[in-house]
């Protein structure tokens, strides 16, 4: 799922200067699971903005709503009759949702309420970690189900670099916590699976045009199109 974290309130407040009628719009998809942008978080943000507003002696109208998802037009369309009531929207969806809102409601400023972080998993309640960078050409079959593109800061394709020490990546120093070397993990896993032969042959060149190098990506499925 897509993981996000709430933006600092001060930043959100700075976007909203000069707007009177504000909608805080949650998304009940991924960002609700990582407790950054669902209905619960939309309610808290709207309430905090109202308190700030009361303190400042303003008479802004701040409301909250949450859509099933903000990455599908049919859910965004639910707002069609309501958008006239607002001057600006703070969307708590991921970057995709914010942009889709902005594309559908071109007359209204749509501000992001969260920082979209990564595609990841829930390790435990309150702890989320990255797993996928959506490179467009999955190589997990050759790497024991551990992704070197996401794990390795250098995106090495054929084993660890010289910065790998005792199973940890050299960026550990930079980020201030122990980061596993992806290739160390892959080696250990392939050893367990009896697939160590993978290292005898270099990996085929990766087509990075399927990743970000190819610009914005697109999937068209004629079989499922109406």
């Amino acid at each position: 799922m897509i993981m996000a974290k709430a933006k600092p309130l001060e930043e959100i407040l700075s976007y909203l200067e000069g707007f009177q009628r504000i909608l805080v719009l949650g998304c009940n998809g991924c960002v609700a699971v990582c407790e950054a942008g669902g209905l619960k978080e939309a309610e808290v943000l709207a309430s905090a903005l109202r308190i700030q507003n009361m303190q400042a002696g303003d008479r802004r109208d701040i409301q909250e709503l949450s859509l099933t998802r903000q990455c599908d037009k049919e859910y965004l369309a639910e707002l069609k009759d309501k958008m006239d009531n607002y001057d600006a929207v703070v969307s708590l969806a991921c970057g995709a949702g914010v942009q889709f809102m902005a594309e559908m409601y071109t007359e209204k400023p749509i501000f992001p309420g969260v920082d979209t972080c990564f595609i990841g998993v829930t390790e435990e309640q309150g702890v989320w970690t990255e797993r996928c960078q959506a490179c467009g050409q999955c190589i997990l079959a050759e790497t024991g189900g551990i992704c070197p593109i996401m794990r390795c800061a250098k995106r090495m394709m054929n084993g660890p670099c010289g910065g790998s020490e005792k199973g940890k990546c050299e960026i550990s120093v930079l980020v201030g916590r122990d980061v596993d070397c992806g290739w160390h993990l892959i080696f250990e896993r392939l050893k367990k699976l009896g697939q160590i032969g993978r290292f005898a042959e270099p990996a085929l060149d990766k087509d990075w045009t399927l990743s970000r190098d190819g610009g914005p990506r697109l999937i068209i499925r004629e079989d499922v199109r109406p």
Binding site: L9, E10, L13, V44, S47, A48, L49, I51, Q55
Partner: protein, 121 residues
């Protein structure tokens, strides 16, 4: 025990402070409370094991949230006491009320007197 404590406190009962969400704390301020305190069981004595510890974290989070919107975080507090500590409850109620009175009304300008709200479990 016929203990007396400030009459401007409104008590909102919850089964356990673990039920108290951030939004409940904020709503109290939105509805005009000048201060809020959460009265949970003693740490280690939660009937549901960790309800009061969860509440402690949420109160801490809400205090940071309040600070970021310019509200003195001292207006929100958590206390721990058992159901058998009536005198302590009255004492906390007086203590909190005095603190909020010192901070003054939450909204400016306002002629209202301080009215701290309490959430007890």
């Amino acid at each position: 025990m016929r203990l007396s404590y400030p009459t401007n406190i409104r008590i909102i009962k919850v089964p356990c402070t673990g039920r108290v969400a951030i939004i409940h704390l904020l709503k109290a301020f939105e509805k005009g409370a000048d201060g809020v305190f959460v009265a949970g069981c003693l740490e280690g004595d939660c009937h549901y094991q960790s309800g009061n510890l969860r509440a402690k974290k949420r109160v801490a989070y809400a205090r940071r949230l309040l600070a970021s919107i310019g509200v003195d975080p001292e207006r929100l507090a958590m206390y721990n006491l058992s159901a058998g500590m009536g005198p302590r409850f009255a004492e906390i109620a007086r203590e909190m009320t005095a603190k909020i009175r010192e901070l003054g009304p939450f909204l400016q300008p306002s002629g209202r007197t301080a009215a701290p709200q309490a959430t007890a479990a």
